[in-house]
Amino acid sequence: MRKFQIYRGDHSNGELVTFETEVMEGMVVLDVVHKIQAEQANDLAVRWNCKAGKCGSCSVEINGKPKLSCMTRMNEYGADETITITPLKTFKVIKDLVTDVSWNYTQNKRIKPVKLAPESKTEKGYVMYQEDVDRVQEFRKCIECYLCQNVCHILRDHDKKEEFIGPRFMIRVASLEMHPLDIEDRIPELKNDFGSGMCNITKCCTDVCPEHINLTDNGIIPLKERVIDRFYDPVTILRRKVFGPRKKKLPPIN
């Protein structure tokens, strides 16, 4: 028999409840939660879907560490270690392990959608090469588990959700800005509305990403550089004044 402590309650009232259950070979933490749910606590609330690390629904904190419970094997823990499972701290608890993540959906809506260069369109579709898309394909691996939003100290410790859209949506912007054919401009709102300057690149988001996306180095830092170029670098500011905004160089059509 193994010991588990699971948070039960809502945002204002709740406590850690102790459960004991048997753990079989190969089990992940989500399996244990399901077993407890079926046998001991039928109304224990938890989100899950794919059980294979593809949908990003089952994010929780296990012994204080933000993780996907479907991809966390029980054998990562000591045989007599008590496992504590709590909901994501950054979002309000609806019930037990389920939190209100709706704020994230409203952030996505604020980002201007993709707009592809019409001159890259042929009758066989748009033309862009693998080496052009590698970079954005990394960001597009995001499964929206919101673990990065959960550990970002601007959101978690300072609760500045009004001022910063968080790492998930920084890389959503990056995936659009670095799309080889996208011709929309999102740099002004990145600075003025999305709070890109607030991130001080502690890389906590990169550390927890279950998809191993290098959010900070490959997404957030290059975006911050684009903001600096646009608004703070006198040379580029002058160049823009004289020559107008630089046109995106599109991949050749062969």
Binding site: M24, D43, C55, V101, K121, Y126, V133
Partner: protein
Amino acid sequence: MLDISEIKTIEHDVLIVGAGGAGLSAAIEASAQGMSTGIVMKSLLGKAHTVMAEGGMAAALGNVDARDDWKIHFRDTMRGGKFLNVWRMVEHHAKLAPERVRLLEEWGAVFDRTKKGLINQRNFGGHRYPRLAHVGDRTGLEMIRTLQDHGIHQGIETYMECTALDLLKNESGAVSGIVCMWRDTGTFIIFKAKSIIFATGGGGKAWDVTSNSWEYTGDGYAMAYEAGAELMDLEFNQFHPTGMVWPLSVKGLLVTESVRGEGGILLNKEGTRFMFDYIPERFRSETADTHEEAARWLAGDPNARRPPELLTRDVVARAINEEVKAGRGSEHGGAYLNIATQRSAEDIKKKLPSMYHQFKVLAELDITKEPMEVGPTCHYFMGGIRVDADTTMSSLPGLFACGECAAGMHGANRLGGNSLSDLLVFGYLSGKNAAEYAKKIKTHSKINGAQASKIIRDATTILNRETGANPYLLHAELEQNMQKKVGIIRTKEELEEGIEQLGKIKEAYKTVKAKGASQFNPGWHEALGLRNLLITSEAVARAALLREESRGAHTRADFPGEQDHWLKYNIVTTKGVDGNMQLNKVERKPPDPELERIAKSDIDALELEIASERTRERT
């Protein structure tokens, strides 16, 4: 007495239930038609089953092999479906898929590229040419995220974590709305709509070994059935040949067909590449019969025929099943799937990153070095709500269906990759036609209070009972029953036992009890889904008993082989006036002669014909 006027009501022209690839495609199109559009989903946006799809979406773009054409895609699909498909639906699909895939690119999807900078395409079972547009092995994620990111800017209202319970009808018997429940609070809401589109997916959660998540409880089938719509072809349940078999906690989890598309081979414990022994007559002339030819195909020889691992899913699943039964199975009762000997470690990590990760974490196995152990897992329903091939409307006026919950497109067996393209094509057609239907209706029908209160009462009774059966244990019992009695290989005796057992579970369900309060209560949600699963399971088992032949995914040990007589019929299921399930053999419409000619053409002759057509067009 419940006062229905206290329940909040929201009006839309078109309401969609389900937010996977089909539902989102439908919503985008309905909204584009100027309709006030809402979309209701059980999970959060972007988490539907589509997100788990791996391999790709099939469309005859001809980017990798220019010989591809809608006619070849059409022929492959009909043959894969053992000619039971609704001809006209397969035609729509093959013709429309390329433009829908290209539109997805316009909406922001970033597919893997060919050397010429176009959408790359990969090989898959049953497809003659590399046809699947893909992004590594996470194509479903790319698709749902693209539709989601596009959809949120189209003025569509999304209702997340909202469970649909049952349909409402007006005096003339047309759909007028639907009663739903907010999962977080457990409160009810009524949506009034001029037309409703079901995009609710399948019912694979009825089996013990399944690749499906908790959401797949056959909600669309059961709600449509209860409202009087016709279901069709429910005996055809696809068991994907390659699910994980070990460790037990992940048994059934999908291993993408792309592993075989990228060259992976199947071996038994004696090390024999057994698929060479299972090539059906219909595919013999188009399948490699030596290791040498299969190796040439993998190396890219355009004249080599495809390896037998890429036969259709029904064939491969049965072959693995046979090998295990004959005592030649792998250590944990499956077959070995080996990509390590076929491709470099670098290639594998690039082409199959999520498979690499999945096995590394969940099975502590490195697929670049060792073979995987795989076995059949319940994956997909070919059958579902019977719809009109052009409008996608069901037999119930105002109710439309698309995606996995609709029947007809895939016949007796679906080809891999034809699901994601199905979602795009038929999602679009449903959205368009449901909008056109709604435009003809001036005002919303009045809600029938008695209908709505009954739906709500049935749901709350489960919570309010003093004691009763545990929904989780009942569900587990159902899964065991379906797995053992209504599995891959079926017999009259076992099906009858299965149906009898289903009757007992249905009886026990009448006293099902969800403990706790109404707020986010998974026990209650489980119990509500179980009603739908029981209806679905019974429809599957009864249709499987009636169809006395083996065709595609439906295999009867007591009636081996396809029977010409049965090709003429679909099994259509409805709720009888006495409340009992009614099954009818319904004669199929004769095919359009030109479509029939294409499907039955010799492949070489058909390709010559396409080539000369193209030359004529150029000159």
